[in-house]
Symmetry: C2
Subunit: 253 residues, 2 copies
């Protein structure tokens, strides 16, 4: 049985505790949070503490805190030579204070409070400094997911940037679509099948082959109409910039 | 039995002919194309012609041609007082030459040559000038889809712009994600579950509630790291512009 202490009680921590405690060979024995947390009610079988000095012994200390808190929290830990891993995409392994053995356990997914996540399909990106820690993290990751990747810190940062483009930025474009719909008394549901199909296409086609639209075709009449339509709206410039980016990309090919 | 003549033999025309001919009360009797087309082999039951003067009588003439061709082709038609509709999002009904009765039949979806489309879930946006034409178009649309909308030309243009944001522009962000992955020896499949989940979230949450990421949190340390990472790459400016757009949007709320 592998014992895990989770440090942090945010959205990702909640998803991790839930999924880890369903795995047969893993047990989340304790959760540390700075303040009291509603997670304590959701997981009555787990010990919750707000005192770092009360931390129990564990095989892995899993830090699910904001990127900014990783350095200071790992420094404050009142023990050494333990395996302490963070869950951040954009933070290097070295951010973990060297009195403990650092590692990374980065699940690449967008987590909402409300929506259940099937961890089985979530890629988990690992990094460790010793063979034995690598083995421990791989066991932990395999308990959750079928998709394990070993990435170095630079690759993980690249992946995090890519994830910002295909998730956070994509969602912002959905927000813009919803805004345009609202302003013209169109229900947002009109766009939903298109959004689903656009995402589904790249499961079987490379995104380059899936590209369509007036920017790619350099359909000047439509681009002109859209430019007129967008004039004076907050998204006018973004429309131009992304159109240019598509056209620059085509020229590079 | 409703008789349809399709004018055009592109990607969308192919999908329309296939789905219309499966509907029990609809028959595509003829397809006109300027040049010979491989569609003729795919649909041996349909008459193909390259001669406008050989066009048969039909209840609806469905123009699935490029936006630029709508005006000139509708002008060249050698008959009048028929129902002639186009399938364009960004073209007004008036683009159809007034010697015939104009209409619009705009299926909002992204069509690939390779991928089958289930028309049942595709929103079809209609516009007509008479009650009787409205009835004809509604019958035609219901034969394909469960989702019929009546939009005026301005709403349709707004919808088309919104569709560019949530489909063409979103796909471009997928291309950027794939580029970043390739440059760092990461398989694109790493991003696929995130892309799917990002699209799926907005089926149950408004995109505004689904927004996450460093731009929204104004997580300066991560934004700084990403800016450094992007420096010198072709997507540096786009990263900045979309980040700003997310932050401007938050301020408006």
């Amino acid at each position: 049985m592998m014992h895990v202490v989770v440090l942090g009680a945010g959205r990702v921590a909640g998803h991790l505790i839930q999924s880890l405690n369903k795995a047969p060979d893993i047990q989340v024995v304790q959760v540390y949070s700075r303040k009291s947390t509603p997670l304590a009610e959701r997981f009555p079988e787990v010990n919750f503490t707000q005192d770092l000095n009360a931390l129990q012994t564990a095989d892995v200390y899993l830090m699910s805190v904001t990127d900014d808190a990783i350095i200071s929290l790992s420094e404050q830990l009142p023990f050494e030579k333990q395996l302490v891993v963070h869950t951040s995409g954009s933070t290097s392994l070295e951010a973990i204070h060297p009195k403990n053995r650092g590692g990374v356990f980065y699940p690449l997914q967008t987590f909402s409070q409300e929506k259940h996540i099937d961890f089985k399909v979530v890629p988990i990106c690992l990094e460790a400094t010793t063979e034995s820690d690598a083995h421990t993290l791989e066991t932990l990751a395999r308990a959750l997911s079928d998709h394990i990747y070993w990435l170095n810190s630079e690759q993980r940062l690249a992946l995090h940037v890519a994830a910002v483009f295909v998730c956070n930025f994509v969602n912002h474009l959905y927000v813009i679509g919803a805004d345009i719909c609202r302003e013209h008394q169109l229900p947002f549901e009109l766009l939903q099948p298109l959004i689903q199909e656009t995402a589904e296409k790249i499961m079987t086609m490379h995104p380059k082959e899936a590209q369509t639209g007036p920017a790619l075709r350099n359909d000047r009449r439509t681009l002109e109409k859209h430019a007129q339509f967008m004039e004076g709206t907050p998204y006018h410039h973004l429309y131009q910039r992304i159109t240019e980016s598509i056209q620059n990309h085509v020229q590079k090919l």
